[in-house]
């Protein structure tokens, strides 16, 4: 993966994705290695995303790299009207790799075309966030012992949820069965469902969370945002139907684990946190190992 930018999850083949997960296992076993001490990593966050930025900076720091960058556009030359092209070409003089988050869709692809150093996309608008997908895959494989033949239940906002779309695409390579739980207004878009069908896989749609849980190996919760609803009365009607309460987990499969890309608001009751099936905080921790694997692999320090 040396010098290979990661913009979309599809940029890496199934084998390359699995290779990153294997490398991440090594970093989980041995997270502090100073293998990047001669490297500089830039984190360019044109919009704030504290969680993702800290995860990348933690990954880089534990490998001994120096981290430079900015955490929102107002503190950078962007606020003076500099073009993305110029920002990338300038910063690439100072760094060996660029991790970028940007509010515009397609910004990371463009940056990867103009940049002489590799780009890792840490989210471009509503489009792609491939490192989230890889850490989700890592968490699924770690908790289930495999990625193949699993039943995945996605819950909440399946229409706008970027993480849901990317993970669905990735799991289409692993013979998954999809259980899609959402209000009518927030169903999975047809192009994502078409991708499932094109791979001869199955999906089932539900409006009631109870109905899907017994099938699931992975219960992937997402937040339903009020502003997604055209009718506020409809939001009030459905908002409580997609909250995970501990009693809902009774009767679920013993191997079921609950994932969530975080931040959580109220869609998982805090009582669930202590349930052994809750896995979302470990999932966030796994993000550091996956990002260590990506930085080390793209910089060519590990094979």
């Amino acid at each position: 993966m040396k010098h290979k930018s990661l913009v979309s999850i599809d940029d890496y083949t199934r084998e390359e994705q699995l290779h990153i997960l294997d490398l991440a296992e090594g970093f989980e076993a041995n997270p502090v290695q100073r293998i990047l001490q001669d490297y500089v990593v830039a984190t360019l966050f044109f919009e704030p995303s504290t969680r993702t930025r800290l995860s990348f900076e933690s990954a880089a720091s534990r490998l001994g790299a120096k981290v430079i960058g900015f955490s929102d556009a107002s503190s950078s030359s962007v606020s003076k009207g500099e073009s993305l092209n110029d920002t990338i070409l300038t910063v690439s003089n100072y760094t060996d790799i660029i991790v970028m988050r940007h509010p515009r869709e397609g910004s990371a692809r463009y940056a990867s075309e103009v940049s002489p150093v590799p780009i890792i996309n840490a989210g471009d608008g509503a489009n792609q966030h491939p490192t989230q997908t890889l850490l989700d895959m890592y968490s699924i494989r770690k908790t289930q012992g495999k990625l193949e033949d699993l039943h995945i239940a996605f819950v909440g906002d399946l229409k706008y949820g970027r993480t849901v779309h990317s993970l669905t695409f990735a799991l289409c390579n692993f013979n998954a069965t999809f259980h899609l739980v959402s209000p009518e207004e927030l169903k999975l878009p047809s192009y994502v469902k078409r991708k499932i069908k094109d791979n001869n896989l199955k999906y089932y749609q539900y409006t009631d969370l109870h109905d899907a849980i017994p099938f699931a190996d992975i219960l992937y919760m997402t937040r339903i945002q009020k502003e997604r609803f055209s009718d506020p009365i409809e939001y009030e009607r459905v908002k409580n139907a997609y909250i995970l309460k501990e009693e809902l987990l009774e009767g679920s499969k013993p191997n079921l684990r609950v994932l969530h890309p975080l931040p959580r608001v109220n869609e998982i009751e805090t009582a669930v946190d202590k349930n052994p099936k809750a896995y979302y905080f470990q999932q966030a921790q796994n993000g550091v190992y996956v990002r260590q694997a990506l930085l080390a692999s793209i910089l060519g320090v590990v094979e």
Binding site: S8, S83, L84, N85, R104, E105, G106, S107, Y110, D124
Partner: protein
């Protein structure tokens, strides 16, 4: 048929050497002119629109003297004028006649439909893969969203 041909030649006069683009949808003539960059062409250009057509009711036609287009260049107009026919004229004679074909890739002249696409905010030429030639669907290589013929704007 003969009579129709005669009338057409009266409406837009013949050229000695060059290219005739016929059967352009009447409303797309100016788009075709723009896509081919004919605004900056110094050769004689004749065009007509809202001409009668047996096939289409109304059509447009563009005649460019002393210009011969590569397929790649002419296929760009297929998005705006999928029905267009290309006729090569040498010494007042038709030497070649062919239909335009939808290209595999579209570069620069179509606007991405996604208002949040980076190409709509910075000076970046658009790039698309044509993912459906019948329905005419273009996938942006940057934001990955699909622009189709119903929401397509020619730049």
């Amino acid at each position: 048929m003969e009579e129709n041909k005669m009338r057409k030649e009266l409406q837009v006069s013949a050229i000695e050497n060059g290219t005739v683009i016929d059967h352009i949808p009447a409303k797309s003539v100016f788009q075709v002119v723009r896509i081919l960059g004919l605004e900056n062409c110094n050769e004689q250009i004749l065009f007509g629109t809202n001409l009668e057509s047996k096939k289409f009711g109304h059509k447009g036609i563009v005649k460019v003297a002393n210009r011969f287009f590569e397929s790649e260049e002419i296929n760009k107009i297929a998005l705006a004028a999928p029905t267009a026919t290309l006729i090569v004229i040498k010494n007042y004679q038709v030497t070649e006649k062919k239909r335009v074909e939808i290209p595999d890739h579209v570069y620069k002249f179509v606007k991405c439909v996604n208002p949040n696409c980076i190409t709509n905010h910075e000076a970046i030429p658009t790039r698309f893969d044509v993912i459906d030639k019948e329905e005419i669907k273009l996938q942006c290589l940057y934001c990955e969203k699909v622009t189709d013929k119903n929401n397509m704007t020619i730049l």
